[in-house]
Amino acid sequence: MTKYWRSLDELNNPVVFKKNEIKLELDAKRAVLKKASGSSRRDFLKTFGFSVAAAAIVASCKRPVDKAIPYLVKPEEVTPGMANYYASSYFEGNEYCSVLVKVRDGRPIKIEGNNLSSISQQGTSARVQASVLNLYDDARLKTPLKRGEATNWEEIDSYISKKLAQLNADNKKVVLLTSTLISPSTKKVIADFQIQYPNVEVVQYDAVSASGILKANELSFGKAIIPDYRFEKAKVVVSFGADFLGTWLSSTEYTKAYSVARRVLQKNDSMNRHYQFETGMTLTGSNADIRFPIKPSEEKTILTAIYYQLLQAKGEMTIAAPGSPVDVKGLVEDLLANEVNSLVVSGSNDVNTQLIVNAINNLLGNYGATISLDKTLNTHQGIDDNFENLLSELKSKKVRGILCWGVNPVYNHPKGQEIKELISGAELSVSFSDRNDETTAACHWVCPEPHYLESWNDAEPKTGVYSLAQPTISKLFDSRQAQESLLKWAGVEAPDYYEYLKSNWKNNFTGLQTEFTDSRIFWNDVLQKGVFEVVTENQDSLVYSENGLDVAISLSNENSGGWEVAFYQSVALADGSFANNPWLQELPDPIAKISWDNFAAVPVKWAEENGIENESVITINGVELPVFIQPGQAPDTISVALGYGREIAGKVGDGVGKNMFALSTIESGSKKLWISNADVQTTTKTFELALSQTHHSMEGRPIVRETTFDEWQLDPAAGNELKEEHEEHHVSLYPEPEFKGHHWGMAVDLSSCIGCGNCSISCQAENNVQVIGKEQVRNRRIMHWIRIDRYFTNDAENPEVYHQPVMCQHCDNAPCENVCPVSATPHSDEGLNQMAYNRCVGTKYCVNNCPYKVRRFNWFQYVQNPEFDYASNSDLGRMVLNPDVTVRSRGVVEKCSFCVQRIQEKKAEARVAGRKIEDGEIQPACVQSCPADALVFGDLKDPNSKISNYFKNERNYHLLEELHTLPSVGYLTKVRNKKR
């Protein structure tokens, strides 16, 4: 049997590992006991219980008077206690997602994906899910600021308009520095602003830009564009360091498409083959069928080798192909067999690399097939050179004023300190940030912008794909949309961006469609749907030319030596703009399973040879970083996540991890996110990491079952032979469970699941799951109701990776139910394993007896407790809580409920309407927004439901079937499309 392992310690020495694990747990328990007072908990409860009862008698204890305050004038669409959904658009940190915002009694509390959008297709990412918490962040600015002191808008407006006019009169340049702008109306506002102030220039700056692709396409096609990648059409996907499932360009869209091309349920389903070349193990790499760990400097060499081999095979080139550090023969064969149906992408920011990628795609005829040039992706428009120009102009005092909007170069640029001085030294420096950050702190004036859930806006993420954003709550603080500020300074007396937006849509968008003639009806329709897509005619078709290719190839052999350190965007924090979001900080990294820190991922062999262990501290160019020994890390390389080490982010994000933007370099005008010849030194120090990877030992049992695509085609039950064996042996003393009405079940397709963590955050938002902080995560008390286990197999140098979401299995023969002394966790008539918090006395017997380790104990009061000062310690932060779910207190056990509040809500709705519940009508939070559609939920009593079909699928199995717990959650075997 394949040996599955979760960490190197376990692989090398399982006995010692097991002992260590137990010791760690004991230590943690001892530490807790030491803290406790002299009297035991039982003594306390006894005395307390008696005194309450006695006090009740003598004082006839009364409840405080509660007030019930009805609306003065009830809005027609609001029913107290019932949620409304509004379509809106998320665009932050270069990530676009069309969303539905769930609003309960005037408060947005949950983000769902919009199924009408052709881009996100009801999927979201963990960052999108967590964005609702940013709305209720204590770190948000409450008023406009003048040099750090509160001021008012009148003062700001009069000063800045005057200053702008003066700079304009003196013909001094002012720069509006923004992140990528995808809003057509905002662009119009800026154009209006520039008419008033012709001295204003717009520079778009992205923390992690796609300059390389943009510039390469300008050379190849004459236009700086990002094409529309169609992953669902590709039979062979080759990615060079592009984490397209995690953070690259439009990851939610690509995840949807990628999982469509890999779903194997019925006989004739096909599956793409995914090759990944990368330095560190990324989310995308962990899902690849064939993965090559390479140094960043080798990327171009390998690409050139592939290009030449392709040319040779096509007979267009006779000279021998240059050597490649890895064997790419099989890959070239696959590419040639799938011309027109293949896709090669690279995450590099280097123009030459991208030029070779373009050449390969052109050679394979992928343009017009898997890569569409008709529609362009607009979410990354920043070109690094422009920003470097701006810096030199600021230095030479050519630019006298700077308006920063949605950018934080002081943090995310290697010359941060210098930029800080340049900004604060400018004659006029304004920030529109809604919170204080490194750049905002350097600006003289701060005109806080509202959160996107409080704002009007529109977006054109892709050519012809439009969407609207609408406010779902009135502004919590004294903020003003930046568009209104710009209009105000341009001389509009009472600017109203909503009216501006509406009239812009009336004038410029109504004509793009024929369905509605009345622009108001059109507007209402788009507002309701959130999206509006234009069927575009083929624009002037772009023709490929080999511009610059020769140079690119001639430069393909990069000289490099020593350590190469690659910087990547982590799935949780990406570019770090959400660093103050405790949900994201606590989301374990999909591969390393570390939260609350970034770390240096080092290769296994080097660590063994040098006696380095996890949590040892090394220095990289002088920056101290804790080590995580990463299976699959390319030799002589180290990977470190960006997005950490914020200095001014808020109480949660300040000083978490180290800032790696500071170590990145600028090479020929572009930000280069890897360095060579790094100075790596070992130290004797250690640094504690919140590792959650060794939690929940599965004791080497066949938890993940797998097969290959070829075997699956021969026998759909391949890899799942154990199931039959177990089912033969099923005998039980307990009566057969009987279900009344429904039998809820869930299926997880391990082949689709990419392990992105969206479900964990979605569940956290829906079910009021609390953040517990680094120390408690270290103590193995993370509260997530749905965790994603990650297992490695085979070679530690380049392992295969499995992601497995595990939530309460809702066993029909549940071991936890039998041991509860107070019947707090009985079984429902509908197959749910129920948890009654108010009955739980906290014996934790159920936690011990659960073979899946999905039950969570509230070791502390996490709400309104200054010791856990994350999101739930202020009235503002608690506004995000879902009123339909009890907030658990200290001393009770909690776990996944299959989102029972949603089940009951839909059941009530169906009952009132007198109809049956449709299949797929009820969707738990994790299922609803899964970008890979890996989760399915439904009624197992309905033989035709989707879930029943999944359960009937030959790939379906249950966790620890041999225990006869009869879980209501099924897993579909992992299928990999390996090459024979």
């Binding site: 009297s39 008698i57 003598v58 409840r63």
Partner: protein
């Protein structure tokens, strides 16, 4: 010698031994807190504003006049006979002293005088007749009322009957124990034993009954900021419950009507048969000045209970009165039912569900077949899973 003692004392208060006493200290705290809480409830309901000062004599004289304690020719009844100072169990339609005080606190004497002596509205005209109050007296009344608005009525002290009884039983127990062990005066030992057991049993009984009642509030009928009578609206005028509680069939909550809904009728009806103009004026004031009415909440389930009106009324077609009682006879709204878990569960066990005529219950096809074949004569809410924990707790 002295210092060691001091140290020991310090240790006692700060160190380990203090920790041991903490549970007892904590329970004492709860004990005291309950007292404070129970008295505060009344103080809270009588809001007061900051005083601007008058002589205490004026205030005292005004109070005596208001209460009818001054020797004078009594052609008319005293103020307090209609405008009560304390809370009462039955509904007094006339505005209370506090109501009047709050209304006139920021108005001048002339307005007050005009209102008292030149009554408007039928109700007031009928009662405020032949008022011959000297200006001097009326001024002191206004001063007294202003003071009332500032300082509130005196809080009603909680009764201590239960406490006295409890302590008395405790004494009995103590005496019985001492008698049995030390004094041994009574030869028939059975007597102190019976007294001991009886007293202890009584105490336990008191604790149990009151502990069960803890945080339940059956028959709770607080005074409301507006003397809104369900009897007048639902009973006398026969307005359907759902005219005001609009969301009862769709939402979890039945909904407390928004003030603009009151104004549907009260835009015209400005004077009531019982209350005259005073109470309705409060609704109009709330609607016009944008100050929502702060009702005292009566039916209040614990936070971990999720109850849906839609399921019970919209789908189950239950009559409102089944849980809320004869609301159309209540002047002061009262919580009719216990609203305890036992009460819910018992009802679910008995209440029949019409599963044949609601499309949803096709999911319960087995029950439907049993009904049709006669294998079962009825299907109760319990049979379709109404008593599952997670039906209400999640």
């Amino acid at each position: 010698m002295f210092t060691t003692k001091l140290n020991r004392m310090r240790e006692y208060f700060l160190g380990g031994s203090y920790m041991k006493k903490r549970p007892i200290f904590f329970s004492l705290l709860v004990f005291v807190a309950c007292f404070i809480l129970s008295t505060n409830i009344y103080a809270e309901t009588n809001e007061s504003v900051v005083s601007d000062g008058h002589s205490h004599e004026d205030i005292a004289r005004g109070e005596r006049f208001f209460k009818g304690l001054l020797p004078f020719d009594r052609k008319y009844s005293s103020c307090v006979s209609c405008h009560n100072l304390k809370q009462v169990d039955t509904l007094n339609w006339n505005p209370s002293a506090m109501d009047i005080a709050m209304k006139f606190v920021d108005k001048d004497y002339e307005t007050f005088q005009a209102s008292v002596l030149n009554p408007s509205g039928k109700k007031m005209e009928a009662s405020h007749v032949n008022f011959n109050i000297s200006e001097e007296d009326l001024k002191t009344v206004k001063v007294y009322l202003d003071d009332l608005a500032h300082h509130g009525t005196h809080p009603v002290k909680p009764t201590f009957n239960n406490l006295i009884l409890f302590l008395f039983l405790g004494l009995l127990i103590t005496w019985a124990v001492i008698e049995l062990i030390f004094l041994k005066k009574i030869k028939l030992k059975l007597i102190p034993v019976i007294i001991l057991l009886g007293a202890f049993g009584w105490q336990v009984n008191m604790i149990v009954t009151d502990a069960i009642r803890l945080s339940r509030q059956q028959d709770y009928a607080p005074d409301q900021p507006i003397k809104f009578s369900h009897k007048v609206h639902a009973g006398d005028n026969g307005i359907d419950c759902m005219y005001c509680h609009t969301t009862v069939e769709q939402g979890k909550s039945a909904g407390i009507p928004a003030t603009n809904l009151c104004m549907n009728c009260h835009v015209i009806i400005r004077e009531g048969t019982n209350s005259g103009k005073f109470e309705i004026a409060k609704v109009v004031d709330a609607a016009e000045n944008g100050k929502p009415v702060e009702w005292n909440r009566i039916h209040n389930l614990p936070d971990h209970v999720f109850f849906s009106h839609a399921v019970h009324v919209g789908s189950g077609k239950l009559d409102c009165a089944q849980c809320h009682g004869a609301v159309e006879e209540m002047d002061i709204m009262r919580q009719e039912s216990e609203l305890s878990m036992g009460w819910c569960i018992n009802c679910h066990r008995d209440t029949e569900v019409d599963i044949m005529n609601n499309g949803y219950y096709q999911h319960h096809i087995e029950r439907q077949e049993e009904l049709q074949s006669g294998a079962r004569d009825k299907v109760t809410a319990n049979d379709v899973g109404a008593n599952d924990c997670m039906r209400c707790h999640y």
